[in-house]
């Protein structure tokens, strides 16, 4: 049935504020364009690359080692020095340790959602799930940060404003904002020689004269009547605009270059790591460079109930190396000033190592990596207790983190959105950003 709710989340009451007739016809498309502007005129618009470590990475084995703790808590890795005196990371984080002066580690975000579905929801939307949800549940009660960025910021040149690579997060959807703000998913592997971003160029075997021929043929065969008067509300007009935007994107050298990793220097590609995640980091940088405000990289495999140390030894060197390469590359290009990089998961892991040499879910403590976009580097915010059981100093919430992200993206975290039923909903219930990250 056509549940014909207004998916712009604009209630009729809102229309009044917009003035008579403002929403009639193709007004929404125009509204979209207006939002594609820089937050601060003249300055480069800010962007966010959110690296999601699905499963919940251990805080002990990443950024919050406890070398003084008993062995059953400490684990097998040493704490290593970083480029910032007094700050130590866990042994696997070698390349990030070397650039710790660019990073801020927040060690004191905590919440009370100990399963993947709920933890994902809380961290990625800044709102706790409204009802208890199961561990493997996929839920969405509130728009994700990426969808809000797309809604509030948009992107130019037909570019989607929110990418999720290679898949959408459990709670990464737009919820009541509507499908227009769902992430543009790029499932293909950029480490493959045949990699292409889906749908932004004609199929491979339709060479360019034929593709151009199709475009003009389409124009010649299009005899569908349009009702040009906006008050008629002809939905075909909106689709026409989207075809225009689509062609703009397909024809935009800048956008197409953003998707083309082969333009990168081979040595730089090597530095990012010749693997799926490494090349996805590189793609994220290129997208941000082209003006995309929000890119999520979804990278699973951090739910180490079993064989945590083996898992880290195998995976982390390449993984953290890619993140370090991304941050350094952004920095060298002058993009780090306007690009927020986050790496986080649902929660931290239990203090005591379990019988399977793993750690279990633990939302009393976690570590979040933050860099760029005016975040002062070389600091640690907050702390857990001596054994890493719980955030104990400067205790912060997922709301604080979401408020930080929104503020850096030029979006008021205290903004009120209206659900299709007219209910006012705060973007973030506690709109207080983490001041140490605000510079």
């Amino acid at each position: 049935m056509a549940i014909s709710r207004n998916c712009e989340s604009t209630t009729r009451r809102d229309c009044l504020r917009l003035g008579l007739g403002a929403l009639i016809g193709g007004g929404l498309v125009d509204a979209l364009r207006v939002r594609g502007q820089a937050a601060i005129p003249g300055a480069r618009p800010t962007s966010c690359i959110l690296i999601w470590m699905d499963g919940g990475p251990s805080h002990y084995e990443t950024f919050d080692p406890k070398p003084e703790a008993p062995a059953e808590i400490r684990g097998k890795f040493d704490a290593i020095a970083t480029s910032v005196p007094g700050v130590r990371f866990s042994e696997p984080m070698k390349r990030l340790a070397a650039i710790a002066d660019k990073l801020t580690i927040v060690r004191s975000i905590r919440h009370d959602q100990g399963n993947h579905g709920a933890g994902n929801h809380y961290m990625i939307t800044g709102a706790p799930p409204r009802i208890p949800v199961g561990c493997g549940a996929f839920v969405s009660f509130h728009p994700s940060m990426g969808a809000v960025a797309a809604h509030e910021r948009g992107a130019e040149g037909g570019l989607p404003a929110y990418f999720s690579i290679p898949s959408m997060l459990r709670s990464g959807g737009p919820n009541f904002l509507g499908a227009k703000y769902a992430p543009f998913v790029v499932p293909d592997d950029p480490n493959s020689a045949k990699f292409r971003v889906r749908d932004v160029a004609p199929p491979r075997d339709i060479a360019s004269p034929r593709a151009d021929g199709r475009r003009s043929l389409r124009d010649r065969l299009d005899h569908f009547k349009r009702f040009a008067d906006k008050s008629a509300g002809d939905p075909a007009l909106a689709l026409d605009e989207y075809y225009e935007q689509g062609y703009e994107l397909m024809g935009s050298r800048q956008a197409q270059r953003a998707f083309d990793l082969s333009l990168e220097d081979d040595r730089l590609r090597d530095r990012y790591g010749r693997n799926s995640f490494g090349q996805r980091c590189l793609l994220a940088r290129r997208l941000v460079e082209a003006g995309v405000p929000f890119v999520t990289l979804n990278e699973g495999g951090w739910d180490h109930h079993v064989s945590l140390f083996d898992g880290f030894e195998k995976r982390m060197p390449s993984f953290e190396g890619s993140i370090a390469a991304l941050i350094q590359d952004l920095d060298q290009r002058g993009l780090l000033e306007s690009t927020l990089v986050l790496a986080l998961g649902e929660f931290g892991r239990t203090p005591k190592i379990n019988k399977d040499a793993g750690r279990d879910h633990w939302s009393n403590a976690m570590s979040v990596l933050v860099a760029g976009c005016g975040t002062p580097g070389g600091q640690v915010v907050g702390a857990t207790d001596a054994r890493g059981y719980a955030a104990s100093e400067r205790v912060l919430s997922p709301e604080n983190l979401a408020a930080t992200v929104y503020t850096k993206l030029g979006i008021d975290p205290g903004k009120i959105l209206h659900t299709p039923s007219g209910r006012p909903t705060y973007l973030v219930s506690d709109p207080t950003p983490i001041r140490e990250l605000m510079g």
Binding site: F138, V185, D234, Y242, L249
Partner: protein, 733 residues
């Protein structure tokens, strides 16, 4: 006028005339909290959901949402914060006033003017020692807005007057205290002072004035200027009662209907509406060549008997009913899906369909509807789902607070939820992400629902009216609920379904959103909705009858092309409103036009998108075209919008391209065959648009085959690609 549970609106017209308005505050009358102060707090927005009225309050000061709990509010103002909010000895120094006037920094800015009447009232109340309104004071009984109805010229304006009527017969002018809203603010705006202004477009709107939880409406209509000869309306075809109501409404607004749609347009529209697929070229030719006068009615009858009817309509109900298999388990969801499809195959009468859902019991592995009770486990979860889906009454707000735009209170919510208090389960509950166990739903002996504030156990009580008199107190209370819901004198039940089906076939619902029936969201054509619902009820809630009746009307068969006198009409069905094909229909249409079926996970080979039993089955195409996100709560959101990614996907997606270019596909077959270019172009137009090409289109198509070096297969593919990328393919016209 339609029944409303509050009964408020019904009496408006009469009562407006009765009582002359007295002026507001007599100087001698004492200022008391409930009567004088709360309304100001509401009017100034202090207790709005975005400010102190939200569940956590604002800056340590919390009021009940929109002032529905005066005792709480009085306490918050008079006692909390060590009583420093109000200082009766020096009222002007009260924090309460200094914040409201922004004399002290206030996040909400200046809400009260320091030299205005509101300030004076609040100040006096503080100075007088914060009196409550005595319990025996006259009660507010109703609100009356004047005028109750008004016809406006374009851009014309007028002022509303709102009167509060009390139990002692007294009245108070509350125009300056009421809150106003317009049901169609693009047509008619209303400002905070109750000034109503028409816009440039003809149409109708209802202006609601809300005061202290009660409201009253003023219906405004703006006819299109200029005279239309009454004979025009008399001469319009009247196929059934629908046309009478639609034409009457158009006449009232001075709108004229578009011309009837041509056969090809009707054909494609009917196929897409009834069975969600395109006619084959042979089916199209046969219909277009048929010269029988009743061929449209026979077409609809034939379509209603096709097996695809059930799949298409069941697919729509899946959006509303089907839970996330990660939450409730694959088998339970699959079982529910099968039950819904089967219900539409059997054309199960709608009242029975709903009764089987509301009273579901048995194993989630055997009884499809039981799965709904595996998903919604608490009475307070299932109650608003049932009321919204089957009665069009949105109760969710009332779970936590009085519904701000309706008359539903918290008590009513919990009384309604109490019908589900005895639902019990045996077996293993939810254990996501597999949740694979069987559960048996049954009606237990015990179970109650308590009011969240008073803790009192509430008896099951319908939202309005009364239960059938012969209810067995021992029986499952849901039986009584189902009988009350489906009773012939419950207008909501038939209306919400009639409205859903109407919206599927006609574009916007008569009430829009389709499941939000309330006095402040009135139908665009009340008599039409009433008549449709009565006809649906009188025909045994036969859904196929409802579809057939709507499709038999002349209104259904209008062209989408506007004329000078209906171009801005988007609510009164003076023309057909274009709709984008839903995701599954569009994908299946592409599969049919290209002759290449899909291969979905968790489905038999050659399944169609409409057969998919859960939105967890991956499909980039369906995601791109807005099928509901299966993670989302509530699960019923589907978007019919277009987006740039849709254009890109149709043009470039590998999945679509593979179909076009497949050696097994339609394009390859046509290229390989011995048809002339002319015949190929004709076939392609019939495949994609269910019509023959115009001469010009034929010429363009044929000429491509004649170009030097033209590759026959590539030409066919290119034409088909172009046809699929024109809005004529994407929209139902």
């Amino acid at each position: 006028m339609r029944a409303t549970p509050s009964g408020l609106v019904i009496f408006l017209g009469v009562l407006t005339l009765a009582a002359p308005l007295t002026s507001g505050a007599e100087p001698a009358a004492p200022v008391t909290f409930e009567k004088d102060v709360e309304p100001i707090l509401t009017r100034a927005g202090c207790n709005a959901g975005a400010c102190h009225g939200k569940a956590s309050g604002q800056n340590g000061f919390k009021l009940s949402l929109l002032g529905f709990d005066p005792t709480f509010d009085h306490m918050a103002i008079a006692r909390e914060a060590g009583g420093r909010r109000v200082l009766p000895s020096i009222p002007d120094q009260s924090l309460f006033l200094q914040k409201a006037t922004a004399e002290l920094p206030h996040g909400g800015g200046r809400r009260i003017e320091p030299d205005g009447p509101f300030y004076e009232t609040l100040r006096r109340w503080i100075a007088d020692g914060l009196p409550r309104t005595p319990a025996d004071a006259p009660k507010l009984e109703r609100v009356v807005v004047e005028p109750a109805e008004r016809t406006l010229g374009r851009e014309e304006a007028f002022d509303l007057r709102v009167a509060a009527h009390f139990s002692d017969g007294s009245t108070q002018d509350v125009t300056h205290l009421a809150a106003y809203g317009s049901s169609e603010s693009t047509l008619v705006a209303v400002d905070a002072e109750g000034r109503v202004k028409a816009g440039p477009i003809a149409g109708e709107a209802t202006i609601s004035a809300r005061y202290e939880g009660l409201f009253a409406n003023c219906d405004v209509s703006i006819p299109l200027p200029g005279e239309v000869d009454a004979a025009l309306y008399d001469a319009l075809p009247r196929s059934n009662f629908i046309d009478d109501h639609v034409w009457a409404k158009l006449k009232k607004l001075g709108l004229t209907p578009s011309a009837p749609a041509g056969d090809a347009t009707y054909l494609r529209r009917a196929y897409l509406d009834v069975i969600g697929r395109l006619p084959t070229p042979d089916e199209a030719r046969a219909f277009l060549d048929d010269s029988a006068p009743d061929k449209r009615a026979r077409l609809v009858d034939r379509l209603l008997e096709r097996p695809e009817y059930a799949e298409h309509w069941a697919n729509k109900w899946m959006d509303l009913l089907r839970p996330n298999p990660y939450r409730v388990g694959i088998k339970a969801v699959f079982n529910l899906d099968g039950w819904i499809r089967d219900a539409f195959r059997r054309n199960l009468p709608y009242d029975q369909f709903v009764r089987e859902i509301v009273t579901a019991r048995g194993s989630t592995f055997e009884q499809g509807p039981a799965t709904i009770f595996r998903d919604h486990r608490e009475p307070i979860e299932i109650a608003p789902v049932v009321s919204q889906l089957f009665l069009g009454i949105r109760l969710d707000c009332a779970k936590c607070h009085h519904h701000p735009f309706e008359s539903w209170g918290q008590e009513q919510f919990y009384e309604f939820a109490a019908f589900f208090a005895r639902v019990d389960r045996k077996g293993t509950g939810l254990s996501p992400p597999i949740s694979g166990s069987e559960e048996v739903v049954f009606s237990g002996k015990k179970g109650s629902v308590e009011h969240p504030l008073t803790g009192e156990a509430l008896p099951p009580k319908p939202l309005f009216g009364s239960l059938p008199p012969d209810v067995d107190p021992e029986a499952d209370p849901r039986e009584a609920l189902a009988r009350w819901m489906t009773a012939a004198d419950n207008p909501y039940f038939a209306q919400v379904m009639a409205n859903r089906v109407w919206a599927d076939l006609m574009g916007p619902g008569i009430v829009d959103p389709v499941d939000d029936l309330r006095a402040t969201n009135p139908p665009s054509n009340g008599p039409l909705l009433d008549a449709l619902a009565v006809d649906f009820r009188d025909h045994g809630y036969d859904v196929k009858h409802l579809v057939r009746t709507i499709m038999a009307s002349s209104a259904y068969a209008l062209s989408s092309e506007p004329n000078d006198r209906n171009i801005a009409d988007t609510r009164n069905y003076s023309r057909h409103y274009r709709q984008r094909l839903r995701a599954e229909t569009l994908l299946d249409a592409i599969s049919d036009a290209t002759g290449v079926p899909d291969d979905f996970d968790a489905a038999p080979p050659r399944s169609r998108a409409v057969n998919i039993w859960t939105n967890r089955v991956p499909s980039l195409f369906l995601d791109t075209f807005g099928r509901p996100d299966p993670n989302q709560d509530p699960p019923c959101e589907r978007t019919s919008d277009t987006a740039v990614v849709q254009a890109l996907h149709l043009m470039n997606a590998p999945g679509v391209h593979e179909k076009l270019a497949s050696d097994e596909g339609q394009a390859a077959a046509l290229a390989k065959g011995d048809k002339s270019p002319r015949a190929i172009v004709e076939e392609l137009y019939l495949l994609a648009y269910s019509r023959l090409p115009t001469d010009e289109e034929r010429t363009v198509g044929e000429s491509l085959f004649q170009e030097p070096g033209a590759d026959r297969r590539a030409v066919v593919e290119d034409i088909l690609w172009a046809l699929l990328n024109v809005p004529e393919f994407v929209f139902k016209d």
